[in-house]
């Protein structure tokens, strides 16, 4: 499955290679076109954060952030009363000029500068008069605020892994005993349990590939292909209990290894927010396409498990989201719609309609609902990304 690298805040000079190139291009084009007016140039460095600046009044405005420090930094335009952020420029390289564009409404503004190895600075307070509405500010989430959520998530996943380990033990025993009917049933419950933890796939590292990897890279006949989907392929393609016994045993062994490894891991603080849309991104890419159907036809059930996992993450982040994200009710109604459309495809015998067998209109409705909910989930990662916050707030 997909690993996703999330930007790290200003940790190493190498990070700025790309930023530097972009910045230079911006600064060159600003010079050649004469677009950078001195009044819009905002100088930032390790000992000044914007200096004295002013604007004519409310309206669209582009500041040119001139980083004169020797290192990279993150520059925010904030409401100095509460630290809410109007606009942000991340990873400005030393010696670069980066535009920051927003619609300035009436209110009070200040630049906040975070440079590597320096304290956070807040610059001069500037008031924009009148009664104009501009780009709204959002209260940032601090690193400290995020830590409890990451910890809760880690404990939740650990509890889930313990349940999973019991289920994979049962599954391995079914196969060893030659009861493939029971194995199919227990395969599904175990796999769905794993998929509710999908939130963590990035952090499960190599274990995820061993436990839940598809055969896209290896092909279905490779001995290197292990895990749930390998077992599904065998169970639903007439492979014998003898042949599948080591497959199921390896799965169980890898789940237990993951369970032993997991509690000591440090979860990147931005992960919980990222996973709120990534779990269903993967469902759309691998389950609703049928890519990860190796015979059981249960990718709709897997998508439901992913919805359950997403719901857990949302419940975790809810205190952060309610005051910050007006689109949250649409997220919940979208999840409800997707869930009810999928539940219609649950067969009385407990199995599921494979996506490839869905009538076109039902499949379209499910895909559309999934696309819609993903669109509404997308802002959450940005809103809940941990940020440096000045000590004053």
């Amino acid at each position: 499955m997909v690993m996703r690298h999330k930007r790290l805040l200003s940790t190493a000079c190498t990070v700025f290679t790309a930023g530097l190139t972009v910045g230079l291009a911006a600064s060159l084009s600003a010079c050649s076109s004469g677009a950078a007016q001195p009044s819009n140039l905002v100088t930032v460095s390790s000992n000044q954060c914007g200096g004295a600046w002013s604007v004519q009044g409310p309206g669209w405005h582009t500041f040119q952030i001139d980083n004169q420090s020797t290192g990279g930094g993150e520059i925010d335009l904030i409401d100095p009363a509460n630290g809410a952020i109007y606009a942000e420029v991340e990873n400005t390289g030393p010696g670069t000029i980066t535009p920051m564009r927003l619609n300035l409404g009436s209110g009070t503004y200040a630049f906040m500068c975070n440079f590597n190895d320096f304290d956070t600075q807040v610059g001069a307070k500037v008031t924009v008069g009148g009664h104009a509405k501009g780009t709204p500010a959002i209260l940032p989430v601090s690193y400290n605020q995020t830590i409890p959520y990451a910890k809760k998530y880690q404990a939740h996943a650990e509890a889930g892994l313990k349940v999973l380990a019991r289920k994979t033990a049962t599954l391995a025993a079914d196969v060893r005993a030659g009861d493939l009917t029971a194995a199919k049933k227990d395969w599904l419950t175990a796999h769905l349990r794993y998929q509710t933890l999908g939130a963590a796939y990035g952090t499960f590292g190599d274990y995820d590939g061993e436990i839940d990897g598809d055969a896209n890279a290896t092909g279905v006949n490779s001995p290197d292909w292990t895990g749930f989907y390998r077992l599904e392929y065998g169970l639903w393609h007439g492979q014998s209990a003898k042949e599948l016994t080591p497959v199921a045993a390896t799965l169980d062994k890898n789940v237990k290894a993951l369970l032993a490894w997991w509690p000591a891991q440090q979860i990147p603080l931005s992960d919980v927010g990222l996973r709120t849309h990534e779990v269903l991104e993967n469902a759309l890419q691998f389950q609703l396409t049928g890519n990860d159907d190796y015979g059981s036809g249960t990718t709709l059930a897997t998508t439901l498990a992913n919805i359950q996992g997403t719901r857990y993450l949302l419940s975790l982040l809810r205190p952060l989201l309610v005051p910050r994200y007006a689109g949250l009710p649409a997220v919940y109604s979208g999840l409800g719609r997707l869930q009810s459309l999928i539940e219609k495809e649950h067969r009385p015998n407990g199995m599921w309609v494979p996506v490839s067998a869905l009538p076109a209109s039902a499949r379209q409705a499910i895909d559309a609902a999934c696309g819609a909910v993903l669109q509404s989930l997308a802002p959450i990662a940005s809103i809940t990304e941990p940020r440096n916050i000045a000590n004053d707030f």
């Binding site: 084009s29 600003a30 076109s33 677009a35 950078a36 007016q37 009044s39 819009n40 004519q56 409310p58 309206g59 669209w60 405005h61 582009t62 040119q64 952020i85 109007y86 606009a87 942000e88 535009p99 564009r101 927003l102 619609n103 104009a132 780009t135 709204p136 500010a137 959002i138 940032p140 994200y325 007006a326 689109g327 649409a330 979208g334 719609r337 209109s361 379209q364 409705a365 895909d367 559309a368 609902a369 696309g371 819609a372 909910v373 993903l374 669109q375 509404s376 997308a378 802002p379 940005s382 809103i383 990304e385 940020r387």
Partner: protein, 440 residues
């Protein structure tokens, strides 16, 4: 004729007009609406309205420049009719069929309003609003920080299936709208036929079209789902000053009614107010036929040029009718009743017999070439996106197509998809939206 890309100026002289407030419509929830401004719309009747068009050809130098920079002036969005119908083919197009997945009529209205908002912004251009830390960017960035109009038009049509029992619109169905039926030489793939809606995007370059498609799809997610799509291009006229060729190597779309003639357009293209049996909301619309036609180019290239020319009825090199010495000469079928010069089965003769009786069956024909890879035996999958606009599909497209049944050309082409639609009446102003009279 072309505008240089504008640097966002550091201090905009006037506040840009705000887009629709986020959250006003369900499909815009959480997504900021576009902000118009920043790019000046082209003058009324700008050259975009005549790009490659016979009636108003751009000066060659200007056309070359436009082709090089890929930027055409804005085509005004508001009007009695949709702006993408009359102008000749732009360099690129995308034809995209959607099925509506909105839950009820109110959501369908939201969908049409959102489509209107996006089309209005994308065709005018402007700078998408920054979103701060509130989410991913509102725009894909494919066109850079400022969206250039690049001659973009967005033409929206409705298919017969929209008028089933889902949205309570059965009684409002356009009188002459049906689903597309198969002709004897067709090989229709139902997965590439029909749709509740058709959106045709046309512009100066492919990035403009794909930017618009992504923007529209993103902002309408949940309300409609892509059913099938095809991208096309119009070739430059070769030699310069002639008519663009299709992938059979022949000039295509020579004999069109004049878009400059209001009389012709009112008698052939636009649904007229009070037309027999038509619901009043359809006035100003136009029936829109799309046919996806594979050309078996390998086979065609193994046919000698004389046989090719007698199948078409024109010279391949010059585009002249076989009985004349200029492109736009009217072939004189009356003096050739047995088809000694232009065979009775030649494409141009069957398609447009040039008789008083067949005048009302004329169509406004717009063709684009498509090219999309290879087939199962490694032959090239390319052909024609045939589109035409008319007042009455039965009287016009179907009459023409019926005359063409079993023409010799059918061995070299294979219609495999498309559909029948009604291109909606135009959006007349800032408070109007697509289908307002239908949904009111």
């Amino acid at each position: 004729m072309t505008s240089e890309p504008r640097e966002p100026s550091s201090t905009e002289p006037a506040p840009e007009p705000a887009g629709p407030p986020p959250g006003r419509r369900s499909f815009l929830r959480g997504l900021a609406g576009g902000v118009a401004g920043g790019v000046v719309a082209g003058g009324a009747g700008g050259a975009a309205a005549g790009y490659f068009s016979r009636s108003a050809p751009p000066a060659p130098a200007a056309a070359d420049e436009a082709a090089l920079t890929g930027r055409l002036p804005a085509v005004p969005f508001h009007g009695k009719h949709q702006a993408g119908i009359l102008p000749g083919p732009t360099p690129v197009t995308a034809v995209v069929s959607f099925d509506v997945t909105a839950g009820d009529q109110a959501s369908l209205t939201d969908l049409f309003q959102t489509l209107t908002d996006r089309a209005r912004f994308l065709t005018a251009g402007g700078t998408p609003p920054p979103v701060g830390i509130s989410g991913p960017p509102s725009d894909s960035g494919v066109l850079g920080p400022t969206v250039e109009p690049d001659g973009l038009t967005v033409t929206l049509g409705v298919g017969a299936t929209l008028f089933d029992d889902r949205y309570g619109l059965a009684s409002a169905r356009p009188a002459r709208l049906t689903t597309m039926t198969s002709f004897p030489n067709d090989n229709l793939d139902q997965a590439q036929c029909g749709g509740d809606l058709i959106v045709q995007l046309r512009a100066g370059s492919m990035d403009t079209v794909l930017h618009a498609l992504r923007d529209i799809a993103k902002n309408t997610r949940g309300g409609m789902q892509i059913n099938w799509r095809i991208d096309g291009f119009a070739s430059p006229a070769r030699p310069t000053g002639t008519v663009p060729r299709n992938l059979l190597g022949f000039m295509d779309g020579i004999a069109n009614p004049s878009v400059a003639s209001a009389r012709d357009m009112n008698s052939l293209v636009w649904v007229q107010p009070g037309a027999a049996g038509e619901p009043s909301w359809t006035a100003g619309g136009s029936y829109f036929v799309v046919r996806l036609i594979r050309m078996l180019v390998e086979f065609w290239d193994r046919v000698d040029v004389f046989e090719q020319e007698t199948m078409i009825g024109r010279r391949r090199d010059s585009g002249f009718p076989l009985d004349a010495a200029s492109i736009h000469a009217t072939p004189n079928f009356a003096t050739d009743p047995t088809g000694d010069v232009i065979p009775l089965t030649a494409h141009i003769r069957l398609a447009n017999p040039r008789t008083a009786a067949t005048e009302p069956s004329r169509i406004l024909r717009r063709g684009w070439n498509y090219d999309r890879g290879i087939d199962e035996v490694g032959d090239l999958d390319m052909g024609l996106i045939f589109t035409c606009f008319q007042q009455d599909i039965e009287r016009q497209f179907k009459a023409v197509q019926t005359r063409l049944i079993d023409e010799p050309l059918v061995d070299y082409v294979s219609p495999f998809g498309g559909g029948y639609f009604l291109a909606l009446p135009g959006v007349t102003g800032p408070s109007d939206y697509y289908g307002r009279a239908l949904l009111a």
